[in-house]
């Protein structure tokens, strides 16, 4: 038995080293891009005055949405007392923490004056959804730090720091309170991220009350989905079942139903804003999008078919749900769909701006945007950070398995 493990470990040592080398290379690329941006300003991006938000905003929105598993699992376990989900809670909190820190890294570079990142804390505009989001994200990230710290202090690096470990245990006892606070903050800002676009009365294609609802539904779906994907994948690489099989199946089914719920709202949103309506603003914008971008392809095929219908089918059809490979593929597609949605939402309103000229030539310049290598490098770097942190965390922290052996 021991020899088998030794062989397996030696075989694994190489892939892991390669994996870490790849992640470090990604982070190095990100550092180069980040420093370059700080030195030269946002002129190094492909952004312009007509499309002032692009890849980094998409990265930021996607990372926050895919971090929503943290609040969902915390609320399920500590508020609704669904105790059997507990084995996934720490993984969800970890993924959430990495999602939110990724988002903050992207935002830090994306604002024109990173040196003034603290301004929203001091100068309040309580009417701005972006101000509310900033405060919620900062507060919620604090909650996530408080939830992650006990895991860190429980690792073997803190074996000789009993006071820190004791502090960690005390923090851990606050988890139910943190779960309630975290759920409140998450429900607020996850939906407000949709409202960021939904409240803009001057941009018809965005101006609708369904955006906040679609954002929070897709966040719960994608956040839980990513937590499950990371767990199953880690289990496969370690050749062990990290969470009880029935829990895995149950969570997979939940994601399937969440996808259906999201699809349902999306259907009526499309019906009301596109199919039954020919309101000038929206109709013009859609026509322009369809004429100048692959919007039809990305919306119908990538978001709806690949991102929702296929995953929902796999996760809700019993025989496929029992097939780990099918589930992994379904969750991967689902997450891909969420990212495509954030990109489509952001870019649709910007690429097809409203026409305000009283003439017919439409003096408004058609907007376009292609990310530069700097933007791609930074995004790759932030992704590398998240993957590296996850890899090291599952290797050195007790993310899976019983939480506190001494308490169990």
């Amino acid at each position: 038995m021991a020899t088998v493990q030794m062989v397996a470990r030696r075989r694994l040592a190489h892939p892991l080293a390669w994996w870490l080398a790849l992640l470090l290379a990604m982070i190095a690329a990100g550092l180069v891009g980040g420093v370059y941006t700080l030195l030269h300003g946002l002129q190094v991006t492909g952004l312009n005055d007509r499309v002032p938000w692009g890849l980094w905003i998409t990265h930021d929105l996607s990372a926050i949405a895919l971090g929503a598993g943290a609040f969902t699992f915390s609320a399920a376990v500590y508020l609704f007392r669904i105790k059997r989900l507990e084995p996934l809670t720490r993984a969800a909190v970890l993924v959430g923490f990495l999602g939110y820190t990724s988002a903050m890294l992207a935002l830090f570079l994306d604002i024109g004056r990173p040196d003034r990142f603290w301004h929203p804390l001091v100068y309040w505009n309580v009417h701005s959804v972006l101000w509310e989001i900033t405060l919620c994200v900062i507060l919620y990230s604090t909650v996530l730090v408080l939830e992650v710290l006990p895991m860190v202090f429980d690792s073997r690096f803190f074996d000789h720091r009993p006071r820190l470990r004791e502090f960690g245990h005390r923090l851990h006892r606050l988890t139910p309170i943190l779960a309630v606070v975290g759920m409140g903050l998450s429900l607020l800002h996850q939906s407000s991220l949709g409202a960021t676009y939904g409240v803009l009365s001057g941009r018809a294609i965005w101006f609708k009350p369904s955006l906040p609802i679609m954002f929070i539904l897709s966040a719960v779906m994608g956040g839980v989905g990513l937590t499950l994907l990371a767990t199953i994948l880690t289990g496969k690489l370690r050749r062990q079942q990290l969470v009880p099989r029935d829990v895995q199946l149950q969570v997979a089914r939940f994601v399937g139903y969440a996808a259906l719920a999201y699809l349902y709202i999306k259907l009526w949103d499309w019906a009301a804003t596109s199919y039954y309506s020919h309101a000038p603003g929206t109709a013009d914008a859609l026509t322009r999008l369809q004429a100048t971008t692959p919007y039809t392809l990305t919306f119908w095929w990538w978001e709806i078919v690949l991102g929702l219908l296929i995953p929902a089918g796999v996760l809700l059809y019993r025989p496929l749900r029992h097939n780990d490979r099918a589930v992994l593929m379904a969750l991967g597609l689902l997450i891909f769909g969420v990212i495509v949605n954030r990109w489509n939402t952001t870019l649709s309103g910007l690429i097809a701006p409203p026409d305000w000229s009283p003439g017919v030539l439409g003096g408004v310049v058609l907007a376009s945007y292609t990310p530069t290598w700097v933007e791609i490098a930074v995004s790759v770097g932030i992704l590398g950070y998240a993957l590296l942190a996850f890899t090291l965390a599952v290797k050195y922290l007790r993310i899976y398995g019983p939480s506190h052996p001494e308490h169990a």
């Binding site: 002129q43 604002i111 024109g112 004056r113 305000w356 000229s357 009283p358």
Partner: protein, 274 residues
């Protein structure tokens, strides 16, 4: 574990009473906050009014502009004067834009557009740090020292009136001194800029007892530069101001009134009787 419930003869015990009082109090406080308090629709109209008083000298005035598209000859002087006076070196960053246009009936005209200084400005409502606001006299202005450069205002503005300072001020300003000299500081890299209706001229002029729209020193550079009088400026609350008289004599319209933004720039159609 559970303690046996003590039967109470009262309908309400102390605990329930406190709960109900608390809930009612919270509900009342919430309604107050959203109806008359800091989150009310009244308050959203007064963003920045308390923190940035500014423009007291012109409180009781409403600055407006009329652009007569039938008069405009497309010389671009207004665009260049703006770039010189407000020190906008980069042509891609023009606050005041102009371009060739054509009416539905095929008549060519020249379309120009400064910031429209919307009373219901979408850009003002969304700024996370309150770096932009509608002054009492209707001007939409910026605090460049507070702006964090998130560009949400640019995303919110339906008129493409805002410009982000992408790369600093490396290029020399080709419009100085021919079209004027810089009267305001150039903005640093990383903040959003916009047309201010030359607020510095209005404020200084009012302090000196001048009348914006009549006295050139107190009038926006673009209005002064126009050789055919296609731009008219003044106080909409004064029936004798140039802008009030022009509006009384001509049929005017505003850009995309359907957005509900209540712009303060009025246009005269390029076609006579159109």
């Amino acid at each position: 574990m559970t303690t046996p419930k003590v039967k109470s003869s009262h309908i309400l015990n102390r605990r329930d009473f406190l709960k109900i009082t608390g809930a009612t109090g919270t509900a009342w406080a919430f309604t107050q906050v959203v109806t008359t308090g800091p989150l009310s629709s009244e308050a959203i109209r007064g963003i920045g009014a308390e923190t940035h008083p500014g423009g007291q000298a012109s409180a009781g005035h409403q600055w407006q502009m009329v652009i007569d598209l039938a008069q405009c000859i497309g010389c671009n002087y207004c665009v260049w004067a703006c770039q010189a006076v407000n020190d906008v070196a980069d042509d891609d960053m023009r606050w005041n834009v102009g371009f060739a246009e054509r009416t539905e009936n095929g008549q060519d005209f020249y379309m120009t557009r400064p910031c429209l200084h919307c009373q219901e400005a979408p850009c003002v409502k969304v700024c996370p740090v309150g770096a932009t606001w509608v002054r009492e006299d209707g001007l939409v202005v910026m605090d460049y020292d507070r702006c964090i450069g998130c560009r949400y205002c640019e995303v919110a503005c339906p008129y493409d009136a805002r410009r982000f300072n992408w790369g600093g001020n490396a290029t020399a300003n080709a419009y100085q001194p021919t079209w004027g000299t810089a009267e305001v500081e150039s903005r640093p890299r990383g903040v959003v800029e916009k047309c201010t209706f030359c607020v510095h001229r209005i404020d200084r002029g009012m302090a000196q007892g001048l009348t914006p729209g009549v006295d050139r020193e107190a009038t926006p550079a673009c209005v002064n530069a126009c050789p055919v009088g296609a731009r008219v400026f003044g106080d909409a609350l004064d029936p004798d101001s140039p802008v009030s008289r022009y509006k009384a004599a001509h049929a005017t319209f505003r850009l995309r009134e359907d957005f509900g933004t209540e712009p303060k720039v009025y246009y005269v159609r390029p076609e006579k009787g159109g």
